[in-house]
């Protein structure tokens, strides 16, 4: 909890359908359990249809903050997709920003049509690395596929954030609030996903 007063600004970014909202919901619930005020600004609606999606999650003591983070003021960026991570970093990062990235691309329609190009992922990550303090690569999709559900990659990535030590929230709090956010039917799977993320970033 430093920079810009007594607050932590986290952006979770990706593409519609990747589970961005659930990811921010887990982080926010953990933060409230630790006594923080939380505000989340989410993009919704048409974003379900393959558009860029980001959630601004803001933790603060004292008073609540607005739903949007000012430019250049993100402390942590969790990227569910590499190109989206770079897109968000360009607006919201500073040289001290820390990032966690799932390197699996989700190709924009204009790339599929052949009208635009998707640069090699290694290049994207290298450029990102020049903008921020840390880039931690976590194979969210591959790890989630390993437990039988590629869609759980969002929770793997939250796990990586939980294990990163970059938030003032103890890792155990993320684990314990999961049951408040995830339906019982799919809780066990998501607990595994969260743990995979925690272990992955600590390697």
């Amino acid at each position: 909890m430093k920079q810009n007063g007594d607050c932590l600004n986290v952006i979770i970014t990706g593409v519609g359908g990747q589970g961005n909202i659930l990811a921010s919901h887990i982080l926010a619930t953990a933060a409230i359990a630790e006594g923080f005020h939380v505000t989340i600004g989410e993009t919704y609606g048409q974003s379900q249809r393959g558009g860029s999606v980001m959630s601004h999650v803001r933790l603060s003591k004292g008073e609540s903050l607005g739903a949007l983070i000012p430019r250049g003021k993100a402390h942590v960026i969790v990227g569910l997709e590499p190109m989206e991570t770079l897109r968000v970093a360009a607006d919201y990062a500073n040289p001290g920003t820390k990032t966690i990235v799932n390197p699996r691309p989700n190709y924009p329609l204009m790339v599929l049509y052949g009208a635009q190009e998707y640069p090699p992922v290694e290049t994207l990550l290298a450029r990102l690395g020049e903008m921020v303090e840390v880039v931690k690569v976590v194979e969210g999709t591959e790890l989630a596929k390993g437990i039988g559900e590629a869609m759980a990659s969002n929770v793997v990535m939250v796990g990586a954030l939980a294990g990163s030590g970059w938030t003032p929230i103890p890792t155990d709090t993320f684990i314990s609030v999961l049951k408040e956010v995830i339906p019982q039917k799919i809780l066990a799977l998501n607990q595994r996903a969260l743990k995979l993320g925690i272990e992955s970033i600590r390697k």
Partner: protein, 646 residues
């Protein structure tokens, strides 16, 4: 347990703005709520219609066929004495406006609250209309919550206010309130037990100038109440030279701007939560000695113009000469300009910095330049598109091919909803008009009735299944009555998909998911005398033939292209596995011009650059299989879910 269900006053929970509004209604003892779904407002009634919520608090919740019916239904419950809530997006208030204009005059009995969620920046809309202009037009009291917590508190208050004034009360939310989440403190639940009754002396009549005069009296009473409202507040030093007057999301953005610039002890903030009628005295009293005012609000300079107009009566007497800044002066502007797009903290920071002559840079110039290079060189745009597995993509492919087959220059008239994307690449640029719900069929009543002017192009009007009930029916009846000739295509994906898959009259389930009378689209159309055909858009050839045949008919006809929304279907069943047989896919040798990836454009079909053949992104693919049907080499293969489980 869902936090809206908790009866634990004082407990702090995380809620979405729309859930907070719903909770505020519950804490007020609301017993009847109705809406037509529309982002960013849908989760208000969506939350209240959850079976566990509706059962626990005993209220009635419904998805009405459209916004005016929703408001009339809610008013009916209010006339019976119950507290009633109606919610809609900004487009909805246009639909509801005719009734709204008279219900403010007739007044109401039980608290009647209308929540309108605006969409600055048009995140999920085809416009960014500022609904607050209606409050002034209607002479209706208008509340603008600034935080998630206030959305709950002010909704609760709005019911009391409505009963005190005996008229409906309007709340304006925006995307960054409705679709934001924040922590708030739960309040006690009002277990109000009223037995609705339409009393012998009850009259709710809108009667011209007489009731208009009563309305003006109520508005003055509202102003008196607003003068004392705790939701209006001043924060900052006394004797500030510059005061920011703000409402809604502008409040926290302004706080952040002053904190960021270190000007909290120099600049004041006057936060208005009641923006029509204005609390005149409260405003004037806080501007004594002030020399500069900056207005910060979402979309139009509504508050800015109203406050300026108020202050014109006081400057030179109680107030000094004030220099005004805001949208009028161009200081509050998004990248599109003033009064366009949504506001954010950077816009407020820049405005204050410019006025105070302070230097502020969000990123160093070198850093910002590098960032901008990265954006242009390493990121591709993400255009909106039909989801993978969306039946609309197949339907648009069907229409494209039927029009080409017909060859007479036919075209498609569209409206809003997921299939509004039919105007873009995802729908092969086929939709040629885009206005409001039902307008495709309405416009077709004109273009389809120009034969005597030697107009001979076939006209196709598309409408969604929910839109059919919402607004297309009067146009279809008009077509029958006035002899317009066009082919209606109902894109029936069995859900109000754009706004979150709410049910509608054609589905046979009500808002709570209980069985309801099913009104079949085909029965209605047949009853109106239309020739009706029903096809599955995924059976592309059959659907193209049917549409082509209907276009040759002498009279208007209806084609229902029916296939459940891919997102709804993927939640219900295991998906089939689709894959490309690399042996069979000829790639660029095929002559199909990479049909599946470049032409058909499903986001799950990707190109394997190394091996030069098409491929399926198994994470994105929903297993609909329509690509397997369309591939000229039959290179795409389907493994059925049932077989995969064996």
């Amino acid at each position: 347990m869902l936090s809206i269900l908790l009866d634990e006053p004082g407990k702090r929970v995380l809620m979405m703005g729309n859930e907070a509004i719903a909770r505020g209604a519950i804490e007020a003892g609301m017993k009847f709520c109705a809406a037509y779904p529309g982002s960013p407002s849908s989760e208000i009634i969506g939350t209240l219609a959850r079976p566990d919520v509706a059962e626990n608090f005993g209220h009635h919740a419904e998805w009405s066929t459209n916004e005016v019916v929703a408001l009339e239904a809610a008013a009916g419950a209010s006339f019976g004495g119950l507290r009633a809530l109606c919610a809609m997006k900004q487009n909805g208030i246009n639909v509801a406006s005719d009734f709204l204009m008279s219900v403010v005059m007739s007044g109401c009995k039980g608290g009647l609250v209308l929540v309108v969620a605006d969409d600055p920046g048009a995140h999920c809309s085809n416009n960014e209309m500022d609904s607050r202009a209606y409050a002034r037009l209607l002479d209706a009291p208008l509340l603008e919550p600034a935080t998630i917590e206030e959305s709950k508190e002010m909704t609760r208050w709005a019911f009391e206010l409505s009963e005190e004034l005996e008229m409906p009360c309007m709340i304006r939310s925006v995307t960054r309130i409705s679709h934001a989440r924040g922590d708030l403190s739960l309040g006690p639940i009002n277990r109000l037990q009223r037995t609705p009754r339409f009393e012998a002396y009850d009259r709710f009549l809108s009667l011209g100038t007489v009731t208009h005069s009563v309305l003006h009296g109520k508005l003055e009473k509202a102003r008196d109440i607003f003068e004392k409202s705790q939701f209006n507040q001043y924060v900052g030093p006394s004797g500030a030279e510059l005061v920011i007057i703000t409402c809604g999301t502008g409040w926290l953005f302004s706080r952040e701007a002053l904190r960021t610039l270190g000007l909290e002890d120099k600049v004041g903030i006057l936060k208005l939560a009641t923006t029509w009628p204005l609390p005149n005295r409260f405003i004037v009293d806080h501007l004594k000695g002030v020399k500069q005012v900056l207005f910060v609000e979402e979309i139009d300079p509504f508050m800015e113009q109203n406050v300026k107009s108020l202050l014109a009566d006081y400057i030179g007497s109680e107030l000094e000469v004030i220099k005004f800044f805001g949208k009028g002066s161009g200081h509050v502007r998004s990248r599109f300009g003033p009064a366009l797009g949504e506001i954010d903290p950077d816009i407020v920071i820049r405005a204050v910095a410019e006025i105070k002559g302070v230097d502020y840079q969000a990123q160093t110039p070198e850093y910002a330049e590098r960032a901008s290079t990265l954006l242009s060189e390493y990121t591709a745009s993400r255009d909106l598109a039909f989801c993978a597995g969306c039946p609309h993509r197949a339907s648009y492919w069907v229409m494209k091919n039927a029009l080409a087959l017909d060859g007479r220059g036919g075209f498609v008239l569209g409206d809003i909803g997921c299939y509004g994307m039919g105007a873009g690449r995802s729908g092969y640029f086929i939709n040629r008009t885009l206005h409001c719900m039902g307008s495709g069929a309405g416009v077709a009543c004109g273009l389809g009735n120009l034969a005597k002017f030697e107009f001979d192009q076939p006209v196709v009007a598309v409408m969604g299944d929910s839109t059919f009930f919402h607004a297309a029916l009067p146009a279809l009846i008009n077509a029958r009555y006035n002899g317009a000739k066009f082919t209606s295509v109902v894109l029936d994906n069995s859900a109000t998909a754009m706004t979150g898959f709410q049910p509608h009259p054609g589905i046979g389930l009500n808002a709570m998911g209980n069985p309801a009378t099913q009104v079949l689209i085909e029965d209605v159309c047949k009853g109106l005398g239309f020739h009706v055909e029903i096809r599955d858009p995924f059976k592309v050839d059959e659907a193209v033939e049917a549409l082509h045949d209907l276009m040759q008919r002498e009279e208007s006809s209806v084609l229902i292209l029916r296939h459940t929304c891919g997102l709804v279907e993927s939640r219900k069943k295991k998906k089939d596995r689709i894959s490309v047989n690399a042996e069979k896919c000829l790639g660029d040798e095929c002559g199909c011009a990479r049909f599946c990836t470049r032409v058909f454009g499903c986001p799950a079909l990707i190109w394997n650059e190394k091996e030069k053949h098409a491929s399926v992104d198994e994470v994105v693919c929903t297993g609909c299989g329509v690509c397997a049907y369309l591939c000229p080499q039959s290179a795409i293969e389907v493994e059925k879910a049932e077989e995969l489980q064996r």
